[in-house]
């Protein structure tokens, strides 16, 4: 391992924060934007560095690059402890990739008060990197909130239609979820008697002295719904389409693509290993909510959407249903599938949001009935959009495929009925995805679009839009064609914490290849 000047995890968090601070202190605009490129690139480079060296890096308790920094609260057992294990690594990389793409896309945009916009994105980026690099549960929560607050502000200032209502709804829903989960985390901290928020210490303590089964059931329920709100578990999902519909593109990319995965990540990394008995009590409820609510009901609702961005928002709610189904079956295979799906979905949904905004710039509307035939004028945009749709449906060759396939396989021993339901969901997502692509890009242009096209002849994707999109597509294809690059660390990560996660009969490992 070549020597790195400082801990890459810390650098990934500190670099965007430092740039944001510099911009906030009044750097002139030209310099701000130049420095911002650096602020977005540094986390990506750090993430790639960590990914490259992960297998050979020295590890303790499955964590590489462990480092502790005191914030003066050692007496309470709180400290900034950084490290990535096999489960965190793919998401850390995801955050780096999506953050870079979203940053590039924001920097080429013509938003008003661009400096403030970029600054908030940088803060969000720092929070995202922090979430997946924290070993301390307190800081896990802390960084999540750090990334969340800019989202609200960005929706409020740069949002589209109904931005005030959307920002407020999103804020209240997500605060509710965050507060419930905070309560649950405090409960675990106090009840475990570990006097520490350090996940490694908590795992060790609770492996020795697990909580009473009843307490585990209660806490699991609390945390499931707390984190569930954050991941838009049906019926607590209604903030998501509304918020994403109104959010400016880069904020939607970062939130839907990465930050939303925090809830699932915390469930996998914290809740399942610490409260192993909880899933037994809640697994079926969760599967019911996710299967019927997220996949079936929201799937049908998505078909009925007329607004392109709202449709993408609903589709992301629907795909979270698969993730919850994977969690519900509780096997290492299912949980591993969730991690793969999180990465795939994060890449594909942020690509869709990016392209939707590019579509909007050419059609001046998000209403799909007022579009049509854009593919003629913008073939590259059309190709990208169709590719993103294929990825989102879960066609082989893209990252999502492996996540969904693994979840379906893991789901079969859990419940055949839910497996059938989930596979039916793929058909639903194919219907709305392909219909949307057809309405926007193919067929004769609608009257409204013909009018717009006359005044502002649509152009194809510019290179400044193409590059971020290409980065995301490349990542989707890379993982789709070589899933082992992600599956191997996930396997190792799950094995380290898998003891409490009951393996089902077929669970051999995640590796699809």
């Amino acid at each position: 391992m070549p020597p790195f000047p400082c801990n890459p995890l810390l650098l990934a968090i500190a670099a965007p924060l430092a740039v944001a601070l510099a911009i906030g202190l009044g750097l002139p605009k030209r310099w701000s934007l130049r420095l911002a490129y650096l602020g977005f690139a540094a986390p990506l480079l750090c993430a790639l560095h960590v990914w490259w060296h992960f297998n050979n890096a020295p590890k303790a308790f499955g964590y590489a690059y462990l480092a502790s920094y005191s914030t003066g609260l050692d007496g309470l057992g709180i400290g900034l402890k950084l490290g990535v294990n096999g489960i965190a690594l793919p998401l850390f990389v995801l955050a780096g990739v999506v953050g870079f793409a979203a940053g590039l896309y924001a920097l080429q945009s013509t938003a008003e008060r661009l400096k403030l916009y970029v600054m908030l994105l940088l803060v969000m980026q720092a929070g995202l990197m922090g979430v997946f690099a924290s070993v301390d549960v307190f800081f896990l929560y802390f960084f999540h909130e750090l990334a969340l607050i800019p989202t609200f502000i960005m929706v409020g200032i740069w949002g589209g239609r109904d931005r005030n209502y959307a920002a407020m709804t999103m804020t209240i829903y997500l605060t509710l979820g965050a507060m419930l989960s905070l309560l649950g985390l405090i409960a675990i901290y106090v009840k475990s008697g570990a006097h520490s928020f350090d996940l490694i210490a908590l795992r060790a303590t609770l492996a020795d002295r697990p909580l009473a089964v009843v307490a585990q059931h209660h806490l699991f329920g609390l945390l499931l719904f707390g984190f569930g709100v954050l991941v838009s578990l049906w019926p607590l999902h209604s903030w998501a389409p509304l918020g994403y519909g109104a959010a400016p593109s880069s904020a939607a990319m970062l939130h839907a693509g990465v930050l939303k995965k925090f809830g699932l990540y915390a469930l996998i990394q914290v809740v399942l290993p610490l409260l192993p008995a909880g899933l037994g009590a809640w697994g079926h409820t969760l599967a019911l909510l996710a299967g019927f609510g997220n996949v079936l009901i929201i799937g049908l609702v998505t078909i009925a959407q007329r607004d392109l961005k709202q449709m993408i928002g609903y589709s992301s709610v629907m795909h979270m249903g698969y993730a919850f189904l994977g969690l519900a079956c509780g096997s290492a295979l299912g949980v591993g599938g969730v991690v793969l799906l999180m990465v795939g979905h994060g890449l594909s949904v942020s690509l869709l949001f990016l392209l939707a905004t590019s579509v909007h710039q050419r059609t001046r509307t998000f209403t799909m009935a007022d579009m049509g035939g854009l593919g003629k004028a913008a073939p590259v945009l059309a190709a990208f959009f169709v590719a993103a749709t294929f990825a989102s449906i879960g066609l082989p060759g893209f990252a999502n495929f492996w996540g969904e396939l693994t979840i379906f396989v893991a789901l079969w021993p859990f419940s055949a009925g839910f497996t059938i339901l989930a596979v039916a969901g793929v058909v639903i997502s194919a219907i709305y995805g392909l219909r949307a692509a057809a309405r926007v890009f193919f067929g004769p242009p609608s009257e409204a679009f013909a009018l717009v096209a006359q005044q502002h002849p649509p152009t194809d994707l510019s290179w400044s839009e193409r590059i971020p999109a290409l980065i995301l597509i490349a990542a989707l294809l890379f993982i789709g064609l070589w899933p082992r690059s992600i599956a191997r660390p996930v396997d190792a990560g799950l094995a380290a914490i898998a003891a409490p996660i009951a393996p089902t009969s077929t669970a051999g490992g995640v590796s699809p290849l």
Binding site: T71, L73, I149, I157, L183, I186
Partner: protein, 501 residues
């Protein structure tokens, strides 16, 4: 009375222990002299002299933080200097300094006399500092009355404003009522503890330690319970806890902005220090009564404060009612204090975070207020972030910290209090507290929304007061306060040792 008794009494008078309070008193008198000597120039001079004096006293307290009189009774047990008391002294001095700074902004817009304002602020600060160290009910009552009488004047300081006068009258009547309750409670406790037919009766039951001893020997005395509840009620009025919060919106709205800040921060903070002293030192054996009463008050206060704040459009009323909900969160900590070692430190941390955030917000309010101080509506904030980006940013940080959003200091305060409450096993109350936090997001964000998102609503020039330009000194102070919220949120370390109290 013979000579030896007098000598004994005199020996207890350790004047050095109350040096800061004495200095503040002398400073207050000095300001009046200054007015006599330089009647023309005193207006600007007096604030500077007052500030310099307060800073000197603050430096003195900080330099002698671990003073020699720590943890021993002074003045024959009237006062009990402790580390917590020292921390509160710093807290109160900080808030009085900030109040004087605010007053420079607000008084400049009004034809009210200057010197008396600073004079009374100093006297009230000294009394508050004695109050938080009191170890004896006589001291408690005397200091509390000095504070309250001072506030009667301060609240109705703008004699030409009907709102201010109305507020003063309301505060006077309800304050007198609460003092009566407190006094009645003290009298009952003194009476019952002096009853020679009860075990452990004491001739000096005004002293916390003696009373605590008596209460330990009589764990379920009915009269004592009544007295305790009345005393708690009297203090609850000062901190604005349900059901004694009814005066808050009107008084906060009518009082001049610096006085509102003084009431909201210093008076409330001192109230909590007193409450902690009573719960931990005077009534420790009555936990069966005190804990449920305070927990119930906390729950009701959180619910009332947050729900009532939802519908407010006047920012002074809004911050008053949100302050009620903060009192509720702090009461949660007080209720947990006998059972969770973390609680006391958590309360002091919370108070400090609350001071910083509140004065940030009040600082912005003082600049935005027009000639009629009670008329500060949410609509006046429309477009603030665009026209005055500095004030907008500072306001957002202050409000975010009050709302308890990470990574700001207010979040850490709430977090510590919640951990303490969970350690004390108050699960039901915590659920209410969390619901309260979620509700509070609505109105705090409503305010931020007004300042940031509603630029197109900015009313025509002339219909709202024009903000006062921010002076260099005040800009610096606002910047430091905002930065303080952020730094304490990211790195609460320097104060981490408080949490081990």
């Amino acid at each position: 009375m013979d000579l030896s008794l007098l000598q004994h009494l005199a020996a207890g008078n350790t004047w050095g222990a109350i040096r800061p309070e004495l200095a503040l008193g002398c400073l207050a008198l000095g300001l009046l002299v200054l007015d006599l000597l330089f009647p023309k120039r005193a207006g600007g001079l007096v604030a500077c002299v007052s500030l310099a004096g307060q800073l000197a006293v603050l430096a003195d307290v900080l330099c002698h933080f671990h003073s020699v009189w720590l943890n021993q009774d002074t003045f024959n047990g009237l006062l009990h200097p402790s580390l917590a008391g020292q921390a509160m002294r710093v807290f109160l001095l900080l808030s009085s300094i900030l109040v004087v700074l605010l007053a420079r902004v607000t008084l400049a817009k009004h034809p009210a006399p200057r010197i008396e304002f600073y004079h009374i602020v100093l006297v009230v600060t000294a009394a508050l500092m004695l109050l938080v160290q009191s170890n004896h009910f006589v001291m408690l009552f005397l200091a509390l009355e000095t504070v309250t009488v001072g506030f009667y004047i301060l609240v109705s300081y703008f004699r030409t404003s009907t709102a201010s006068l109305e507020a003063g009258l309301k505060y006077l009547i309800l304050g007198a009522l609460s003092s009566a309750l407190l006094l009645f409670g003290i009298a009952i406790l003194y009476g019952v503890a002096g009853n020679p037919f009860l075990p452990g009766h004491s001739a000096d039951a005004m002293r916390y330690a003696e009373l605590a001893q008596f209460l330990t020997l009589n764990p379920h005395n009915f009269l004592a319970s009544v007295g305790i509840v009345l005393v708690l009620a009297g203090v609850a009025f000062k901190v604005g806890a349900f059901p004694f919060q009814i005066w808050i919106p009107d008084v906060y709205q009518g009082a001049p902005t610096p006085v509102t800040a003084f009431l909201a921060v210093a008076s409330k903070g001192a109230g909590f220090a007193v409450l902690l002293g009573l719960v931990l030192r005077a009534f420790p054996s009555y936990g069966w009564l005190v804990t449920p009463v305070i927990t119930a008050m906390a729950v009701a206060t959180i619910l009332f404060g947050n729900l009532a704040a939802l519908t407010q459009h006047n920012v002074k009323r809004l911050i008053g009612l949100s302050g009620v909900s903060h009192a509720g969160f702090l009461l949660l900590g007080v209720a947990a204090a006998p059972y969770a070692p973390l609680a006391v430190g958590a309360i002091y941390f919370y108070l400090l975070a609350y001071l910083i955030a509140s004065f940030t917000v009040f600082g912005v309010m003082a600049h935005l207020a027009g000639p009629e101080d009670s008329d500060q509506e949410l609509e006046h904030y429309a477009g603030l972030a665009k026209d005055h980006p500095f004030l907008g940013a500072v306001l957002a940080i202050g409000l975010g910290s009050l709302a308890g959003i990470p990574p700001l200091a207010g979040f850490m305060g709430k977090f510590f209090v919640f951990v303490a409450a969970y350690q004390a096993g108050m699960h039901g109350a915590l659920v209410v507290a969390i619901a309260g936090v979620v509700v509070s997001i609505y109105y705090y964000f409503g305010w931020i929304k007004a300042a940031y998102f509603e630029a197109w609503k900015a009313p025509a020039a002339g219909s709202v007061p024009v903000p006062t330009p921010v002076g260099k000194l005040f800009g610096l102070v606002l910047g430091v306060l905002a930065l303080g919220s952020i730094v304490l949120g990211f790195y609460p370390g320097p104060l981490g040792h408080w949490l081990q109290w």
